[in-house]
């Protein structure tokens, strides 16, 4: 834990702020060529960018699998809740089954959906909170449509100058090192 903190302290963030009309692809391509590890380059914007940069910390998300697994657990919970408790607390009514498949189906369906939706939300929230750990530059102008690019690297990393030059050449309004 202490090692992680000291490693973080050795990091710095180079943040470039760009006007909305600045083409992003050339900048991203150049950063890709520098072979940064996943999660060290982040683009901040007021809206999601349609074309995602390839290879800059851009792994697959497995949220759908989480939803599926949570849904399956919810289904099982629903079966136990409606079917299991009907067996534990039997209500004998003439001509009617103790465990009714249609009723178990209705309750299980609702529980499946509840578990799937809640788990999907919690997973997303955790991931958003976790992503805060990565150092990202902030600027209020991002809300106005500007684009921010943050590159996190070691303080001694020789590529710092190259990145700053790249940002300047691309027409950055501001380049900061934090």
């Amino acid at each position: 834990m202490a090692d992680t903190k000291s490693a973080e302290r050795r990091k710095k963030v180079i943040f470039g702020l760009f006007e909305p009309k600045t083409p992003m692809r050339p900048i991203i391509d150049r950063l890709n060529e520098m072979k940064f590890p996943a999660g060290t380059v982040e683009i901040s914007s007021a809206v999601p960018i349609l074309a995602q940069p390839v290879g800059v910390g851009w792994g697959r998300l497995h949220l759908f699998h989480v939803t599926m697994i949570a849904g399956a657990i919810g289904l099982l919970f629903g079966i136990l809740l409606a079917g299991g408790t009907a067996l534990l607390y039997p209500l004998r009514t003439g001509g009617k089954p103790i465990v009714s498949p249609s009723i178990v189906g209705i309750i299980s369906y609702e529980m499946m959906m509840l578990f799937a939706i809640v788990t999907t939300f919690v997973t997303m929230a955790v991931q958003i909170v976790r992503s805060r750990r990565a150092g990202v530059g902030c600027d209020p102008r991002i809300d106005e449509g500007f684009i921010g690019i943050s590159v996190r690297l070691d303080r001694e990393d020789p590529r710092s100058g190259t990145i700053r030059d790249l940002f300047q050449e691309a027409g950055a309004v501001e380049v900061e090192t934090e």
Binding site: L61, I107, E110, L114, I128
Partner: protein
């Protein structure tokens, strides 16, 4: 497709880009304005609504103290205004999910100013609907009997009861609606965290989850919205079907029909969309949001309402036609009471307001682009849908199979006060929400502007 390759390499000329950029700044200030500026009229409206809610709370307290006999409910009619209101409000709640969910799934560009208004409507109407369950309980202090938990009395909720299906469905729907409302709000909460000062700021700091608009965050958010949208549309259909099962699985004349659940779903969407149109009109008018809630939105909502009107009319006709053609005496008694008997005036007003007038009016393109006209149609549909909920419940219960047991029902002042209070409570929640939440999704509006799909007025 070129525009999709790189978000900033659009075909727009530089002047166009500049215009878009300015539009973004304008969107930020325009859409935050209702939250930041409060006039005396706002406080007056809040005070009036709060008084009506207090009156309803007083009536409910009186009913709890003196017993359920204070209502107009008596044998054979044990379901009245409270259950009709429950069904009605669950119906209204479908607006948000249907409009927001279906339009998101279909990636309809015109959804942007509508989704938030509709999603808020969903949450608040579910809250009001859930309240009616407790009001209807009578001995509300025994509500915990409904919750399945191990206890010494060996009492366990009977899942064979459709009301327990309701409990499961409403709980799922309320939770899902809250989540579905909250997720697209996260970027807007972050914007407010940076823009709003005062006592609200700490709340926004917590609610925004530290959002900074990185692409990683956007991807997680987008993925979650996509998944939950599909799921919540499935939940929405199931919830009102289950409310329909409350009636359809019973053997009461007029209820025992396979068409009731889908008919309830269509009716719910009908009243829900009418409520959304009312909300759109009032927000546009009050906060001068003409640049965001445009005539095209009313036009498209009008087309959707026309479709649902036709669908509702078809379902209604089929239900009545099958009963009439079958000619089963018990069923015919109820049908005759509705078509020609003591419930006929309400019934024909309902047909007029719910079907005939909307059908004619919404078929006219110029009418669809007249916001005030759509507001009137929205009010009409909601009045008619409430009458329709009453007509589903009361005539069937008033005419049991044995003629000597027939009865009449009229709500007492207690019920009517609670009914008025419920509408006031819904509006109060909405009016208060205006000061906490942007009524139009700011980031989605900005996305529409930046992606060059912001249509001219």
């Amino acid at each position: 497709m070129e525009a999709r390759k790189d978000f900033f390499l659009t075909k727009q000329k530089r002047a166009g880009e500049r215009a878009h950029w300015e539009l973004i700044q304008k969107a930020n200030s325009d859409l935050l304005a209702p939250m930041l500026r409060t006039g005396p009229a706002y406080y007056l409206i809040v005070a009036i609504l709060a008084l009506l809610v207090l009156a309803a709370a007083g009536a409910w307290t009186y009913m709890i103290q003196t017993g359920i006999g204070q209502t107009g409910l008596h044998p054979p009619i044990f379901w009245g205004i409270f259950i009709a209101s429950f069904v009605f409000w669950v119906g209204v709640s479908h607006s948000g999910t249907f409009i927001s969910g279906v339009l998101r799934i279909s990636n309809a560009e015109w959804r942007r100013p509508i989704t938030r208004i509709a999603e808020l409507m969903t949450l608040f109407s579910v809250i009001v609907a859930a309240l009616f369950i407790f009001v209807h309980l009578g001995r509300v202090w025994r509500f915990y009997y409904l919750i399945p938990y191990p206890n010494q009395r060996e009492i366990w909720p009977n899942f064979r009861s459709p009301l327990m299906w309701d409990a499961a469905a409403i709980f799922t729907y309320a939770t899902s609606s809250l989540i579905y409302l909250y997720i697209p709000l996260i970027p807007d909460f972050a914007l407010m965290r940076d823009r709003v000062t005062g006592w609200r700021r700490p709340f926004y700091r917590v609610l925004s989850l530290g959002w900074r608009g990185t692409q990683t965050e956007w991807r997680w958010l987008g993925m979650a919205i996509r998944i939950i949208t599909i799921l919540i549309v499935m939940v929405m259909i199931s919830v009102h079907s289950i409310v329909g099962f409350d009636f359809a699985v019973s053997l009461v004349p007029g209820w025992h029909s396979t068409i009731i659940p889908p008919y309830f779903v269509v009716g719910a969407i009908h009243s829900g969309m009418a409520t959304v149109v009312m909300g759109l009109y009032l927000l546009r008018k009050t906060y001068r949001l003409h640049d965001y809630i445009r005539l095209e939105h009313f036009d498209k909502m009008g087309k959707l309402m026309l479709l649902i009107t036709l669908l509702w009319g078809y379902f209604y006709f089929v239900e009545r036609q099958v009963v009439w053609f079958g000619g089963i005496p018990d069923e015919m008694t109820v049908l005759d009471a509705i078509l020609y008997g003591s419930y006929a005036p309400q019934h024909w007003v309902m047909i007029l307001f719910n079907f005939l007038i909307p059908l004619i009016a919404l078929s006219i393109p110029r009418f669809r682009r007249w916001p005030l006209g759509l507001l009137v149609i929205g009010v009409m549909i909601n009045i008619a849908m409430y009458i329709e909920r009453i007509l589903v419940i009361v005539p069937s219960l008033a005419h049991p199979r044995l003629e000597y047991a027939w009865g009449r029902y009229f709500p007492s002042w207690v019920e009517l006060t609670i009914l008025v209070g419920s509408f006031a409570f819904f509006l109060l929640l909405y009016v208060l929400a205006i000061k906490f939440v942007p009524m139009i999704s700011i980031w989605e509006e900005k996305e529409g502007i930046l992606h060059g799909r912001h249509e001219e007025r």
